[in-house]
Amino acid sequence: MPEILLPIGPQHPALKEPVNFKIVVDGETIVRLDLDISYNHRGIEKAAEQRDFVRVVPLLARVCGICSHSHTTAFVKGIEEAMQLEVPARAQYIRTIVAELERMHSHLLWLGVAAHEIGFNTLFMWTWRDREIIQDMLEETTGNRVIYGVNEVGGVRCDLTLDLIRASFEHLQKLEDRITQYVGMVKNDETLHMRFSGVGKLSKADALKYGTVGPTARASGVDYDIRKDDSYLAYDEMPWKVVTDTHGDVFGRTLVRIGEMQESLTIVRFCLENLPEGPIAVKAPKTAPPAEVLSRYEAPRGELVHFIRTNNTDRVERLDIRTPTLANWTAVAVSLVNQNIADIPVIVAAIDPCLSCTSRITLLNGRNKKTSLMTWDELRSYSGEYYRRKRCA
C-alpha cells in the first residue's frame, strides 16, 4: 500500500479540544506526523492583559472546562503571592477539596474516554455514570456542574455547611466502592490489556528529555508532583503519597490515574474531617505591586504553569499560561512514530487531550509515493462550486 496522508481532526465524535494530526501512514503504520493544535486559540492571554483581576478569574475558568478550577487556582495563587496576601486556612481547604474533586472527575472522564477510544463503551458509560456523583457534590457545593467559579482573589466564594459535609461523606463512600470496582476492571480486563500494554512506551530518560508532566511522566517513573514538590493550598498538612508506575505505557498511565483517584479520596476525606473554622476570604487590594511570579499547579493532566508579571496596576502585564498538554505534546509526537494507526487515539488520549477525527479532505496520489493535500482555498472554491452544481442538478 502506498503512503497515505491521513488527517485526523479537528472534529471528533467523542469530545474535547479539536486537534489535527497530519499523519502519513504506510498501510497501518505511522511514518511521520505533524500536529496542529491551533483550533482552540482564542487569545485568552491577550484578553487577560486587558481585564482587571476580578474579571480575569472567570475568564481563566474558561480556558478549559474540565480543569477550570486548576487555572483559576493557579492564577489567584500567583496574584496572592504577588500581593503577599494571607489567605484564610478554610479557603485553602475548600480550594483543595474542589481541586481533588476536579481531579477525580477528570480522571474518571479520562478513563471513560480511553475506554471509548478502544470501543469499550460499557466502561465509558459506567465511568461517566459515576462521574455524576462528583458532579452532584460540586453542584451542591458550588452551584454549577462543570465551571464552578469557586475562586476569587483572596479566598473562595462559597462555604461548606455541615449538611453538605455529611452528604459528601455518603457520596465519597459510594464513589470509593465504584473506584475499587474499576481498579479490578482495569487490572483484569483482557481487551484493555491488549490495547494498553506496550503501547506508547516512554522511558524515564525520554520522559524527562521531552519535558513530560503529570501522570504521563509519573507512569514512566518520574516522581515529579507539584503538590509535593512545591506544595500549595493545604497539601503539606495531610498524609498522602505520589503515585508512580514503571510501565511507561498507556497501561501504566491508567494505573497512575486510578491510584491518584484513590489518593484524592483520602485527601478529600481528610479535608472534610479537618476543615478549619474561620472566614473564607479576605479583602484583596485592587492593584498588585510589581512582581514576577511563577505559579505552578498540579492540574489533573499535569503541571500547569502561570507566569504572571504585575506592574502596580489592576491588570497583569503579562500572563503566560503553559498547559500540561502542550508539555506532553512533544512526547506524543515522538511516541507515535512507527505505531499502528489504531493506536493513535489511545496514545493521544493517554496524555488526556482528545484528538478528533473528521477532516475528510485529502487526495491521495498513490503511484509515486507522493502525498498531496488540497489547500483550503482550493477546497473552499471546490465546495462552493460543488454546492452550486448540486443545487442546479
Partner: protein, 177 residues
Amino acid sequence: MPDTPPGPSARLANWARLKSPWITIFNSGACNACDIEAIACLMPRFDVERFGILAKGSPRHADILIVTGPVTMKQASRLRRIWEQIPEPKYVIAMGACGSSGGVFCGLYHVTDGVENTIPVDVWVAGCPPRPDEIINAVVACLNLMKEDFTRGGKAWRQKKVEKTSDAGGHSEEVPA
C-alpha cells in the same frame, strides 16, 4: 413546497425525522465544558437514546449539528464545511453563551463571536455551560421547529433573522427547504 397538504408518505417521513434526530457535536474552539455536558447527555443519568437521539461521528449521518464554542477563526471554515456535509434537512443548535454570542471571549482577536456569523442557527441555548437538561430541552425545541417547518412547508417563515445577519455582513446562504 406544494400548497396541497402533505401526503401520507411525507407525514411518515416527518414522523420518523422527529423520532430519530441524530446529532453531531462540533467543538469550534470551546472550553470543553459544553462538550462534556453534551456527552453527559448520552450517559446513563440522562440517556437521550430513549428519545432516539444518537451521537454520530460522521456529519454525513447527522440531522442536528450542535456547535459549542465561540468559533475561532481557524474553525470557522471547518464549521462551514461540516455544516455543508450534513444532508438536508439539517438543523443547528448553538450551545452555550459562547456559541450564542462569543460569551467571555466576545471581541477577542482570534474568535468570530458566535455561530450565526458562520452558519445559520435554529436554536440557541443559554448557559455556561448549559446543563444536560437544557441541552435535551434544546433538542426538543429543535424538534418542535421541525414540526412547525413541516406544517408551514419550509424554513422560510422564520428566515427573517438570517437575512438580517446577512445584511450585517453575515453570509447569505439560503437554506433550501
